[in-house]
Symmetry: C3
Subunit: 356 residues, 3 copies
């Protein structure tokens, strides 16, 4: 399966990579080791010793360097072998581990898996996640047994909330009749829903002036490649403009593990009750439960039905609610095709949409 | 793997599809949803929404219609979309789910998976199963991790009872020396064994005049495509003709789930002690135990040895006891080849016998 | 995957095949039945009835013969069918099970899976294993989820002991700086390390005159095809020559089950404390623990990283410690290529090193 490579994916929550830990995760089918230098900077390299291919995460960290557990070759953060305990200790030129550029931003560690020079500017700006106290933001990770585009589909078509989700975030059938506004740019797809409902979305209602009365609501979703969806939600009552209402600024982002499994990362920053740590934890758990227990079974069911067959080859019946999701799929396909052409032209874009 | 398609397979026991249930099962590799209309009629359709391929069994039933859980498209029993809650509610022409004809007969729901018009007349007559009180008949379902033809082989060569089965149905070595009478027609293979044994088959013995003395016995098996075997067994003593003896009229029928797993359905109607519900339950459980605990390990062992290799390509050593089973395999192969030729000629019959 | 066929592999520990047992194991991808005749001689045949392919190990032993559980064909030790209970009892000419020559030597049952006549002389002489009381020798079996050559690599490069193993057999960093002496013949690769360490290897130290003082040590490993490694270890202090020191004579030998799983057999004979059954059991368990708990995770990690990709195609960075292991891999590859050429020339040697 072809992935967009010269781009940033989330590799881990910042909190997943502890000071003394050799953290490992398969990303785009490749085993990656991540750890922190003594100054706290995260580094990433292929989780495979170039000698006899032992996973480096089984080894140990000495200062900022990694020692392979099998035969004790030692590597620095640039992947260069710095010590060979064997024979006269000569270091073979080829004794180098591939490293991957990282950026640590917005509570996540982002990784660049491509062969071109990493471009920090390609990372979208999600700085509102950082804007406020830690009790007003939550980050979480979920492992999903489904292709990452099925999760993008899910978030880009929020009409499913009417039908799939329970009380806490129910939109009470109000989204589906709306044809969302959709805009597409060279590297983004945007959709917006605006509606009224009574009572308001429950996770917001308690912070509105009249928790049981009608509220105006909006959802904005902005997909940017490869798999980032910034979602904003808000509610207001009476003449209060949305800017002064209650709401949250969320990020849904997915990183392919394999063709049929995904690392799902989520962050949410709210503008109300921002100093309440208990509420913060409760809300984050409630969102996780919604994704895992309500979306999860459906997405897994779709995965089992589709297996690795290309979505469009199955002739999906598409409707007004699918516009944003379909545009994101098509834009991503074009970007991957373009990257593969640039890489030599031999990898036909069609290859990516064929069944495995 | 090629299956005979324009024919009837058992999809479920009648009792498996409850009044309020969305029952689903994979049949010939395809996910099928079954449920009952308010008038009790069973219907079947593909268990996949044509929109985004969510399994329909995750949804709910409203009257006689099904609502997909993901985005609430609603479908009637003909598979036609009747409600689209999205946008202006237009129903795309393509929004149709494939349906499958059903017949409910003899305690089973039979399904037609082929592309030709369903022909009710192709369902063999197993009406003796219906002839008598409910305490004189039993129906059961077993999931088997083996190709369905291995189960047909098992039942078409009853000589294995001498060697595989325990006391309750033991034939005490009397079947193997017999070369069964075998007859073949255009769409059936029949075999008959007649023998004497002391004591009689134990499950019948208690209902014979002299339970510990010699009895005459017979087995008749009639295979009809695709995978139905009607088995009759009887015992009599002295001058009593078989017609006045004790016996049972059984149906063994298998439905491929995948190339290596099978839905095994069994029904048995007896002509003795027909009002005894406890005996009925005990006998059915004993038969299940024989199939699962005695035949099962051998059939699974054969499956593991053969994997998906064609039976004949392994050059089996065939003997007098194999005649009926081999004729059934060969007739089924001819029927499948004929069906595939009729479907366009491009699918060579040989394809079906090649390893996967 | 291509294996060397006309050679001896260990099929089982002698103790695994009991007097009354139908023992079965998959060897080089083929199911094999082993049992003992009444005179104790072990025999091996394909674990598959030629009739309908039931595993013969599900059957029973009558005298020196095997009865298939499914339809009671009976086979003698040469694989010849001796009884057919069906019909008139004629025995089809083809009713023959493939048998495999065995030799029972050094506490192991060795099997010949090739198509050429078995050559007992090809079995290396490991008679020192037999030389001494039963309390001075141990034999054990471990199932490993890794390709067998990864285990050969492990034992042929003992420098890993410095880094992987715990106190009981630690070499305290002394092996890695040594470039072992390596010698290669037409059918063997030999390596020798000599060094000093304080304290001595702990499993030997207690039997040296000064358990806490420096000792001289050596390791000899001799690989012979297909997968036998004879390992000798010794320790001595002062002027005592190794011949009068303490040591052990071990055999590590592996038998492929599949391309990614291996039967690992180990035997160890020591020259000290040879009448102590408790020590014997403790030492064997300690060695097993070292292989399973210390080598195991690394070897499994390498297997997961490499999957079925050929070792050399991954361009391993090779160093002075790899010489013996690499020579064994290359010699084995040449022997397999030669055998395949001899078998007809159509199987190109390259085929064996391609990914599955």
């Amino acid at each position: 399966m072809a992935y967009l490579k010269n781009t940033w994916y989330v590799a881990a929550l910042s909190t997943e990579v502890g000071a003394d830990e050799l953290f490992h995760r398969k990303i785009l089918g490749t085993s990656v080791l991540m750890y922190r230098k003594q100054d706290g900077t995260a580094v990433a390299m292929r989780d495979r010793c170039p000698h006899r291919f032992a996973p480096l995460h089984l080894g140990k960290k000495i200062g900022d360097e990694i020692v392979c557990h099998y035969h004790a070759l030692q590597f620095d953060c640039s992947g260069q072998c710095t010590h060979n305990p064997h024979g006269e200790g000569n270091i073979p030129k080829a004794a180098k581990v591939q490293t991957f550029p990282l950026q640590e931003r917005y509570g996540f560690i982002w990784i660049w898996m491509g062969d071109k020079a990493a471009d920090p500017g390609l990372l979208p700006d999600y700085s509102p996640l950082d804007d406020g106290p830690p009790t007003g933001v939550g980050h979480t990770y979920m492992h999903m047994r489904a292709n990452y585009e099925l999760i993008i589909d899910n978030v880009m078509d929020l009409s499913h909330i009417d039908h799939v989700h329970g009380e806490i975030i129910s939109t009470r059938g109000q989204l589906s009749p709306i044809v969302p506004q959709v805009r597409e740019t060279e590297n983004s797809v945007f959709a917006r829903w605006e509606w009224k409902q009574t009572p308001p979305i429950l996770v917001l209602a308690g912070f509105l002036p009249h928790p049981e009365k009608e509220a105006r609501h909006f959802f904005d979703v902005t997909w940017m490649p490869p798999a980032n969806i910034q979602l904003s939600v808000g509610g207001a009552q009476g003449d209060t403009p949305f800017e002064q209402g209650v709401g949250a600024y969320d990020l849904h982002t997915t990183t392919p593990e394999t063709e049929t499994s995904t690392h799902y990362f989520f962050a949410t920053r709210r503008n109300h009750n921002i100093h309440d740590a208990d509420f913060n934890a409760m809300k984050l758990q409630a969102m996780r439960d919604a994704f895992e227990k309500e979306d999860g079974p459906i997405i897994y069911g779709v995965q089992e039905e589709m297996e690795t067959t290309d979505f469009f080859s199955l002739n999906p019946v598409l409707m007004s609610n699918d516009v944003a999701a379909v545009r994101a799929r098509r834009l991503l396909a074009r970007l991957i095709a373009k990257e593969e052409e640039g890489a030599g032209g031999s990898a036909a874009p069609a290859a990516r949409t064929a069944a495995a």
